[in-house]
């Protein structure tokens, strides 16, 4: 990435940030050589020795200043490159986070190079606080109520991937009457679902092994039987020791709206695969039509044809279809 390269070039420049950090560098030592009022041979020798030390210190200070000027020039050049790179990447859809970070680094480089003051003097509008993303209307987590919780201090803790898996085909997906016989949390997978779950395990394993680097899994699952079975089949695809922990979390259970709690009849349960927006007629379809696949497909087509229904009707149906399994 060009942005990274520019910054790396700066980091490699002699002096780097380390030199600029020590900018308030004294040109001369505080104790200047003074001519001794009572001149003796001993004082003269001491004075000569002092002069020598001062000269050495001045030489060192000059060298430090030269290094700092070189570093500042390199920082200015890098900042300019970085600005250009950010401007060029501004239209790209991704990744806004990196762009923000890069712009911020450019700000810091310019400050290190002493550009901030001179450009302000030259009439450019200075950003009041370049580090404060709120000034640009952006999210600045330092000022967020969850500041320490929402932003990683150590990037090494970030999981490489987060994989979401919908449970495999359950009996309820095939025949919604299953929900009238078995409680929703205990509806098992079908045979086809079992093989889907094993295939999902293979797919996830292939994904993780593509990196050729060591990996571990931490599995969360909904406590519903169909999820637990799917999770077990996925975990079984990995060698022992890879899955370090499997845990149920009740917050991963299916989300249900108010109407669905407890009292809904199975026939009123719309198909899980139908976009809730597009299902205005589901509730008028009763048990008879929800049994067979052709009927369900016809229902989906019907639902799609009604996609342009009114907002009011959609809102109403959205509330109803929150019981999707």
């Amino acid at each position: 990435m060009r942005v990274g390269a520019a910054v790396q070039a700066t980091a490699a420049a002699p002096g780097g940030r380390g030199a600029s950090a020590k900018r308030p560098c004294r040109r001369a030592p505080a104790r200047a050589p003074t001519t001794a009022p009572r001149s003796t041979a001993r004082d003269a020798a001491a004075s000569a020795s002092l002069d020598g030390r001062v000269a050495a210190l001045l030489a060192r200070a000059d060298a430090a200043l030269a290094a700092q000027e070189a570093a500042a020039a390199a920082a200015a050049a890098a900042a300019a490159d970085l600005r250009a790179a950010v401007a060029a990447a501004g239209g790209a859809p991704l990744p806004p986070a990196s762009l923000t970070a890069a712009a911020d680094v450019a700000d810091r480089l310019e400050r290190a190079a002493g550009i901030g003051a001179s450009t302000a003097a030259a009439g450019r509008v200075p950003s009041s606080s370049p580090r404060d993303a709120r000034a640009r209307g952006e999210f600045d987590a330092r000022f967020h109520s969850t500041s320490t919780a929402a932003t990683p201090r150590d990037l090494r803790v970030l999981p490489r991937r987060i994989v979401l898996v919908r449970h495999a085909e359950s009996q309820g997906n095939v025949d919604e009457m299953a929900y009238t016989i078995v409680p929703d949390p205990q509806v098992p997978l079908t045979e086809r679902g079992e093989s889907q779950a094993r295939a999902a395990g293979d797919a996830v394993r292939t994904l993780f092994e593509a990196d050729h680097s060591p990996y571990r899994l931490h599995v969360y699952m909904s406590p519903y039987k169909r999820s637990a079975q799917t999770a077990a089949a996925i975990a079984a695809a990995f060698p022992p020791g890879v899955v370090v922990r499997s845990q149920e979390d009740v917050q991963l259970r299916e989300v249900r709206g108010g109407e669905g709690w407890g009292g809904g009849r199975a026939g009123e349960r719309p198909s899980a695969d139908v976009n809730p927006t597009l299902s205005p007629s589901l509730h008028s379809k009763t048990l008879a039509t929800s049994r067979t696949r052709p009927a369900r497909n016809a229902r989906k087509r019907n639902a799609c044809a009604l996609a342009a229904s009114s907002t009011a009707s959609r809102t109403e149906n959205r509330a109803r279809t929150c019981t999707t399994a």
């Binding site: 942005v3 990274g4 910054v7 980091a11 991704l94 990744p95 806004p96 986070a97 990196s98 923000t100 970070a101 890069a102 911020d104 999210f139 987590a141 330092r142 919780a149 929402a150 932003t151 201090r153 150590d154 990037l155 090494r156 803790v157 970030l158 999981p159 991937r161 987060i162 994989v163 979401l164 898996v165 919908r166 359950s170 997906n173 779950a197 797919a203 994904l207 680097s213 990996y215 571990r216 899994l217 931490h218 599995v219 969360y220 699952m221 909904s222 999820s227 637990a228 799917t230 999770a231 370090v244 917050q251 991963l252 259970r253 299916e254 899980a272 976009n275 809730p276 927006t277 929150c322």
Partner: protein, 117 residues
């Protein structure tokens, strides 16, 4: 689901998961879409235009940032930030994006919905 994600993000940032760990969340269709809605800040209409994924089809969120990014870019030393470092202000959720193959699995999901906008 919001609570779950809050807790997950706090767990992640606290170092709950060791190096090289990936997470697998086995859940349900609507719950999965709501997870994505809350993670990527989808609007209600974004959410409604997205369909349930097929049964047992993995939907993958990939980390977009390398823990060993060059020091200068994110002002980190081996991935650890100083208190005032630039990238610290990036929310954990913004460091992930939906993998392109997973976008295809989710009918109705668009490119814009694959990262924290």
């Amino acid at each position: 689901m919001t609570l779950f994600e809050d807790h997950l993000v706090r767990d992640i940032n606290a170092g709950r998961f060791g190096p090289g760990t990936s997470l697998v969340l086995v859940t349900h269709g609507l719950a999965l879409r709501i997870f994505l809605m809350r993670w990527f800040h989808w609007s209600v209409s974004d959410f409604l235009q997205c369909y349930n994924p097929p049964n047992a089809a993995p939907v993958v969120l990939e980390r977009t940032i390398s823990p060993i990014a060059p020091d200068g870019v994110f002002d980190s030393v081996d991935g650890v930030f100083a208190d005032d470092a630039a990238a610290v202000r990036v929310h954990t959720k913004a460091l992930y994006r939906l993998a392109p193959a997973s976008m295809a699995v989710l009918k109705g999901c668009t490119e814009r919905m694959c990262y924290v906008g």
